[in-house]
Amino acid sequence: MQATEMHGFCYFFGPFYAYKMGTIFLSTDTAGNHNHQNYMSKKMMRLFQNSSRLIIMTLIIGMMAVGSGCKSKKKAMAAAAAEKARIEQEAELRRQQEEDARREAEERARREAEAKARAEAAAPQKKLEQLFGQIAGASDVASANRSITEALMLFASDNTPVLIVISDSGGIKDYDRPTTIKQYLEYLKDTKKNANAISNLQFDSSGKITEVELKK
């Protein structure tokens, strides 16, 4: 009677797996029954061996998967951390860019408001200078009078005082004889000469001019 010996035993350690088939002893009995029994036993053994192999293979594959899963998990965690850091960095950069843009917009708005205030403050003077030029350069009395009427609307009164500085030296201002704005505008019409520059305007609460200082 032949004995089929198969050696095998299993080792399981860490993420690495190995196995070795252990020895399985089978004994034979009398011929006939024994042959049938041997045949069945061999068949069962084969089946058992195959099952064992299958189980062992499954275990090995499972462990490898878990192992590689652990590895992947670590890699995935590292990648996730890197991704998170990258996202955070981008968010920070975006936040800083938005902050810079907001500051720049505020600065631009402030500059525009200042320029607008300066322009509004200078607007009456520019308008008056323009009208002075129109009156002095008018081609006829009628058009000069229309410009005079328009100019007088900027003033609190036709008798708004006009001071003309003829000299400003050594801290002393010398003036021509003071006149009124109506008379000064008519002077521009008569002499057709606009040689004096506006150096100062005073306003009342309603924005009307209450005093004019000119400079030769």
Binding site: V141, I166, S167, I172, Y175, R177, P178, Q183, Y187, D190
Partner: protein, 192 residues
């Protein structure tokens, strides 16, 4: 030995010298130049007013208004000399009267132009504090009528100028200014 007479003479000299120095140190050359320019400018303004008043195309209301402005340039009781080649005599009229006669001239077209306006005597400070000078001008007068009547002459005139420091109140504060006034305008020559 210093006697009383010498001492008095010395004191008088010193006070006179001090007075002269005070007068000449009144205003700086820049300020004096500004006053000189201002006075000359007033004479030029007067010439434009006279030209407007005499122009027959000037509306009467405008001519009357300009007469008021021109009269304000003159010192009180100032007179304007008028000459004629026909009569060879010079007449003097009060300023307002001169302007009224100018408007009433019987021409259809009148042109009066002043030129070569300059100082013949610089503005100088007087003891009373005023500055007085003389400006000379040449006046070209041309009158024409539609019926062919024409008159042309050139007259040389000397204008006395007064400049005085005055004060006024503007918006509750005292403002000092230089008041330029035209005095008499005397004819010193005439030609065709």
């Amino acid at each position: 030995m210093i006697n009383n007479r010498s001492l008095l003479a010395l004191l008088f000299s010193l006070s006179a010298l001090g007075s002269v120095m005070a007068q000449s140190a009144e205003i700086s050359p820049e300020r004096k130049q500004a006053i000189d320019s201002l006075a000359l400018e007033k004479v030029r303004d007067l010439s434009k007013y006279i030209s407007i008043i005499g122009n027959k195309s000037t509306p009467f209301s405008e001519a009357t208004r300009v007469m008021d402005r021109a009269e304000e340039l003159f010192a009180p009781d100032s007179e304007m000399g008028v000459s004629s080649l026909n009569t060879k005599e010079v007449n003097y009229y009060k300023v307002r009267k001169y302007f009224e006669r100018l408007i009433a001239l019987n021409y259809d077209r009148v042109s009066i132009q002043w030129y070569d306006i300059h100082y013949i005597s610089d503005l100088e400070r007087q003891p009373d504090g005023r500055y007085v000078g003389v400006v000379t001008i040449y006046q070209r007068f041309e009158g024409e009528s539609d019926d062919g009547l024409k008159y042309r002459d050139t007259t040389k005139k000397d204008i006395t100028i007064y400049v005085e420091r005055k004060k006024t109140q503007i918006a509750g504060r005292v403002v000092e200014f230089w008041d330029v006034m035209v005095g008499d305008i005397r004819v010193t020559g005439a030609s065709a």
